[in-house]
Symmetry: C2
Subunit: 406 residues, 2 copies
Amino acid sequence: MALIVQKYGGTSVGTTERIEQVAKRVAAAHARGDQVCVTVSAMSGETNRLVELGTAVDPGAAPREIDVLLSTGEQVTIALLSIALHKLGCPARSFTGRQAGIRTDDAHSKARILNIDATRLRSQLEAGEVAVVAGFQGTDTEGNITTLGRGGSDTTAVALAAALEADECQIYTDVDGVYTTDPRIEPNARRLERITFEEMLEMASLGSKVLQIRAVEMAGKHNVPLRVLSSFEDGPGTLITYEEDGMEQPLISSIASNRDEAQLTMAGIPDKPGIAYAVLGPIAAANIEVDMIVQNVGDDASTDLTFTVHRNDYERALEIVTRIGEEVGASSVTGDNGIAKLSLVGVGMRSHAGIASRMFEALAGVGINIRMISTSEIKISVVVDDKFLELGVRTLHEAFGLANEA
Amino acid sequence: MALIVQKYGGTSVGTTERIEQVAKRVAAAHARGDQVCVTVSAMSGETNRLVELGTAVDPGAAPREIDVLLSTGEQVTIALLSIALHKLGCPARSFTGRQAGIRTDDAHSKARILNIDATRLRSQLEAGEVAVVAGFQGTDTEGNITTLGRGGSDTTAVALAAALEADECQIYTDVDGVYTTDPRIEPNARRLERITFEEMLEMASLGSKVLQIRAVEMAGKHNVPLRVLSSFEDGPGTLITYEEDGMEQPLISSIASNRDEAQLTMAGIPDKPGIAYAVLGPIAAANIEVDMIVQNVGDDASTDLTFTVHRNDYERALEIVTRIGEEVGASSVTGDNGIAKLSLVGVGMRSHAGIASRMFEALAGVGINIRMISTSEIKISVVVDDKFLELGVRTLHEAFGLANEA
């Protein structure tokens, strides 16, 4: 007998028919003798409907009231799922965030969970009944309703799993696991049996939509085994855990790619302390997030600084950088929003040299020019021309043998 | 400065535009220096939408979960109204039933309010801010969400007014007050400036939809002055209070009428103790509610028993009565679902004789035959042929001078 936390997202509970399908999965786990705590999102479309109602009244509505408004979305789902479970003869009870004992700080619309008083949930599970908990919400110490921000239901699931000391936290979604790369780009992409928290974190930070980064961080911190599965078909999904000793780790787990960024370069600027801050300070002050940063030492006393921002921020960033370029006497300021980023992720990099050169060799072999490189302990990212994204992904997937069973 | 509780029903908050109109009324009261506590229903259509979702999963859903589901309707409205008030610069905060301290028993879907811990609401009002409370809901002593049943928002308003010792409880609706009779039948019908709790109770029990009977009872019990007003146009509405000494009471306040009932008669039954029970017991056992009951003593040892039921129950009731008629040896069993009921309501009846005869005289004057009569201390009801309803209402309205200012 295991204690399992399951989480179903908005698409999985998008209609009453789908909620009944979810109920079947939950009831099956319960019938196997597991203690099951389920957390759910709002039915897909519902949160947008509520946001539109609020925006129709005032686009600048107070976050406290927006939270009161949005939290009803998950409350509807917990009631409907409990009803569907009863219909299958499976004992169940719904819990709002407050009833589940989820206490958060008071940062409305982006609250963080402070702690979970799981007394009531635990007695529900010990009585052999399913607990159905509203995701994405809690109450602050004053009893005000808070929400964890979009996608917060993943975080709720992991926090519940940690508080209940669950054996596994299962995230049901519309994909059947984590893949070696985006199957829409590379048809040979393969579902991974397992992946480490660190790799999953890198992938989330590279834009993978499979799991919320906060949820992965929290699972890693509390050592909660996390599994990504499909709510529409059966299958083992992908297990996310810590590296286990004695296990052969694949060199590379996966290849991430995106077209979300734009590149800015300031060339010929004085190579002196504080110059990076002089450029990036005003960017940060304008609330523009910077992703990759590369600084080359030039051959004279000048240097080049290149960085990437989200493509939506490109125009604003270029304007700021042009102004600063004039102030610091840069020889040129250029930008390009036609770029793509390709990344290799894998904990195997730690113990294997030569990964980077194999990557560069493979890309050169098909004529892809690398414009920018950035590395971390378990990741190598390169910036290439936008048009090379698909070719680059397929080339790397082949070069590192990801299509073959690890 | 007064402390006012206002209640707005589903039609009054049916769209975001209407919610903004309501906000203007609330803000205007607040700007006049009043302390304002507002309670609202779900947006019209929303409760039905939620019921349909629940029914789609299981028509026999557990009442506890239905309450979790339905209570979201009012929660959406309190958030939207608070947002609309902020937009007008009016300080406000939303309160769910639980946050407002509304404690109920655990009779899900038809819970009764046990008490209201108004500490938090009172400090909100004393800080000069509007409190926006979800109607129709509360929590039981275990913290489970409960609802008061349909129309329960009126009850919430009155209970809040009693707990806050409000100076007035204002029920905003789609009519501008209580009328001497249905204006769709009698164009000369006149809005009443005031009416007593007892008259309002009689009218509610006669089918007037203006106020929920439980809310009127509770207002009377706690002596909360109740005012019915329109949320769409300005006007003083109708004040419902206790009779005041020294005030000239009109003889008759209003005329109620309906076509909701059907009549059943069992003639020539043995006139002996227990015969009424023998007939009406099986009717009650079939969950059919009986309204008027009249028993005539016949000239021999037999009697006639006539009673009315809701028209929807007519066929079932006739079947039962026919069977019993055979058992007790009745000479005939007849029924008629083509009847109408006309009622005069007025506390003035208590001190004035001759009202009934004036009523009968007026109806006879236009050739309306009376088929059944029933009286209470402040009401006279007669059953007539269906086709005479409009003529009867207009005749009585004229005969008692209700069109003239009282």
